[in-house]
């Protein structure tokens, strides 16, 4: 009998420990020595593993920036590839510390799901891709189409709204994994593939003949994509926000990974505050004062991350557009370090 009780007591102890571990994500991260980062299962430009299992992408760079700020080492990150459907449960349950996974900031996610959005690292919108041979020029001609997409996304909700509001019948074929959507669309199961426009450009590269497909001009939704953390841990939320803002501020102030050492001698007050040569800003987020310096030194500013991963010189070839700085006609804007 006593032997049977032991596992129960142990189990109870574990349950208790779980309560204790809930506090302070930053302390946790520091203790284990790396950031556990939830990313996609492979979306070129945002989070994509190469043959050797090295992850690259805009979202991946955000994880590296976090690690650089905390550990002065951008490699102190572990990645958890997640499907759209699994991602929030993984974050809520504490399996990951942060979720930068082309995730749209919506009200229900920000509130009822118990999540907090750090900011927007990519302003996107939903689009449609079709075979050129269909001879369709506008989304308004898609009445009666079979539409392939991912479950657990804003995409499947937007497409429902769109077709319903236009009074067009459609049939949705919704898969859990993005690769399955690509395969099914490629096989001809669907006439249309819909997801975030950035995702369409990325996924198109995986099709057998990318040239036979085109993206329609309509953008049917707002998809502000950004990293997410759990509610209830303000310290970690603040840190996550300011790592994101630091990268944008750096671009605005002209600080790059190449000139950041030089910039340390700058006399401009806003640059000094950002790089920690003036003030105690790092302390307020539980880090050293050169936290932003480390981010820029190792990963670069927001503009550099954009160019490297999705910009015109990459396979995706996406122009800055909405993602240009506010001072250059875009929407990227960060509160000042002060």
């Amino acid at each position: 009998m006593t032997m049977k009780i032991m596992p129960l007591v142990l189990g109870a102890a574990v349950a208790l420990a779980a309560t204790a571990a809930n506090a302070g994500t930053l302390d946790d991260v520091k203790a284990k020595g790396f950031v556990q980062c939830g990313v996609s299962q492979g979306l070129p430009g945002f989070s994509n593993p190469d043959d050797q299992g090295n992850w690259t992408g805009l979202d991946v760079d955000y994880c590296r920036a976090l690690a650089a700020a905390i550990f002065n080492d951008p490699s102190k990150v572990k990645f958890s590839p997640l499907s759209a459907k699994e991602r929030f449960t993984a974050l809520q349950s504490g399996e990951i510390d942060v979720l930068p996974r082309n995730t749209t900031w919506t009200m229900s996610r920000d509130t009822a799901l118990g999540l907090n959005f750090v900011g927007v690292n990519y302003y996107d919108g939903q689009g449609f891709m079709v075979r050129k041979s269909l001879g369709v020029a506008s989304a308004l001609e898609l009445s009666g189409a079979n539409v392939c997409t991912n479950t657990g996304t804003t995409t499947e909700l937007n497409v429902a709204d769109y077709f319903r509001s236009k009074d067009m019948p459609y049939q949705i074929v919704a898969f859990e994994k993005a690769d399955e959507v690509v395969q099914a669309y490629d096989a001809g199961r669907c006439d249309v593939y819909t997801t975030d426009a950035s995702g369409l450009y990325a996924q198109r590269l995986k099709l057998t003949n990318p040239d036979e497909h085109m993206v329609l001009p309509e953008i049917i939704s707002k998809e502000p994509l950004g990293p997410v953390v759990r509610q209830g841990d303000d310290e970690w939320f603040n840190l996550a926000k300011w790592v994101h803002f630091a990268a944008i501020n750096a671009e605005e102030l002209g600080v790059t990974s190449a000139n950041v050492d030089e910039m340390k001698n700058s006399e401009t007050p806003s640059v000094k505050r950002l790089l920690g040569t003036e003030g105690e800003y790092g302390k307020a987020i539980g880090l050293s004062n050169d936290w932003a310096y480390n981010v820029i030194k190792h990963v670069g500013n927001y503009g550099e991350m954009f160019e490297r991963n999705v910009g015109p010189s990459t396979q995706l070839g996406i122009a800055r557009g909405l993602n240009a700085l506010w001072s250059k006609g875009g929407l990227q804007y960060a509160p000042p370090v002060r």
Binding site: V9, A15, N22, Q92, L157, R164, P169
Partner: protein
């Protein structure tokens, strides 16, 4: 034990109550219950604290909220503006649909293959053997992918007819066949059909009794077929032919997107359903075949010999003597195969078939109410399993031969 019992009264009186096995037993049991209660309370409390800390929604209110997503296959009225509760119910019906038809198909295929495996014909028994060994040893998920992705690529495209036999077509958008359309005034015909089936069963019962009593045989099969065809037909003609047939309508002119089979014509089985159904039933059938084989082999050979000696032909021997006895061995493991098939149907999510797990996952993703959704999943699968077991146990009792 015997020694202890034989001890005189005094011995027990002297022993301390601490050593009393009854007291000890009770003590440990109370301890166990307390520990269990504490553990459960800890889990509940821990969950509640965590949910509160993260401001996460709880409760069942979400079932009334608008779902907002479309579902490709719905047996009941459903649209994007229906609520989550209805979406979950649609998923539940889809689970029942694929599991129900899957169980039926797997049983039919399993019995045929199991009997074929014992065939004296070498080729037939080898084919059955290879089928069983190959399909049983490939993971089910791979088979589902095979049927969906590999076979899907091989069938004709959406804008080709893919005619199998006139009226029946298979292309990448699904299997299409003519569908009956029940117009106004068709109810009497349907009632006539049901009536004919019921009467056939009654006749079957009566003829079995009569045969047992008098040895006279009655052509039940022919009577039943005649009844089931003729009775509804008469009513159908008498009421002015209120049932028509809708053929799948194919268009190959006009805008490209509009070509192909037109929605709302004929009867459609979507490829997601077909692939899942095929994979589930072919896979489960291999296990059922082995169960059937084992069941038949369990019936002593003397039964076959006795039956031959009575002059029964091999077919009748199998049907009247062997199978009824084999059923006693077959039914219990068959039940667990049915349960497996039902639970395995949750792999649907991999190929976009909207079963309960798939739809539930979407609802979970949108509402974040993991505990409620998981509770629904567990409750539903548990109920399906318990009901299946209960039915099979009842059937088993009925089939069990009275030992003589």
């Amino acid at each position: 034990m015997a020694v202890e019992d034989a001890r005189p009264e005094r011995a027990t009186d002297r022993a301390s109550w601490i050593n009393d096995p009854k007291v000890r037993g009770a003590f440990y049991q109370i301890l166990l219950v307390l520990a269990l209660a504490w553990l459960i309370w800890e889990i509940i409390d821990n969950t509640r604290t965590n949910l509160e800390q993260r401001n996460m929604a709880t409760g069942w209110g979400f079932l009334d909220e608008t779902a907002g997503f479309g579902i490709i296959l719905n047996l009941i009225q459903y649209s994007e503006i229906s609520n989550y509760g209805r979406a979950l119910f649609v998923g539940f019906l889809n689970t029942l649909l694929v599991a129900g038809i899957g169980v039926f198909l797997a049983t039919v295929i399993g019995f045929i293959v199991g009997i074929a495996r014992l065939s004296k014909n070498w080729v037939i028994s080898r084919i059955a053997y290879v089928y069983i060994e190959v399909l049983r040893n490939i993971p089910l998920l791979l088979q589902i992918f095979f049927w969906y992705f590999a076979v899907l690529r091989a069938v004709p495209g959406k804008r080709e007819m893919g005619t199998i036999v006139p009226g029946v077509h298979l292309n990448i958008a699904g299997l299409r066949a003519p569908a009956p359309v029940f117009e106004e005034g068709s109810t009497p015909t349907v009632i006539a059909l049901i009536l004919a089936i019921v009467i056939s069963f009654v006749i079957k019962g009566w003829s079995a009794k009569r045969q047992a009593a008098t040895g006279q045989r009655f052509p039940v099969l022919w009577t039943a077929i005649g009844l089931i065809v003729v009775l509804p037909l008469i009513v159908f003609l008498a009421t002015g032919m209120p049932i028509s047939i809708s053929y799948p309508e194919f268009r190959d002119t006009g805008p490209m997107l509009m070509r192909g089979f037109q929605e709302g014509t004929g009867f459609v089985l979507i490829p997601e359903f077909l692939s899942l159904l095929l994979a589930l039933s072919l896979y489960t059938a291999t296990f059922i075949a082995e169960i059937v084989r084992a069941g038949i082999l369990a019936v002593s050979h003397g039964q076959t010999e006795a039956s031959y000696a009575l002059g029964l032909r091999p077919g009748s021997t199998l049907r009247l003597v062997i199978i009824p006895q084999a059923m006693r061995v077959i039914i219990p493991p068959l039940t667990s195969q049915y349960l497996n098939l039902t639970k395995n149907s949750s792999l649907a999510v991999a190929i976009a078939y909207p079963d309960l797990v798939s739809v539930g996952g979407t609802v979970l993703n949108q509402t974040g109410q993991a505990i409620e959704i998981i509770a629904i999943w567990m409750l539903v699968y548990l109920s399906i399993s318990l009901l299946t077991s209960a039915f099979m146990n009842w059937y088993n009792k009925r089939m069990a031969l009275v030992e003589r």
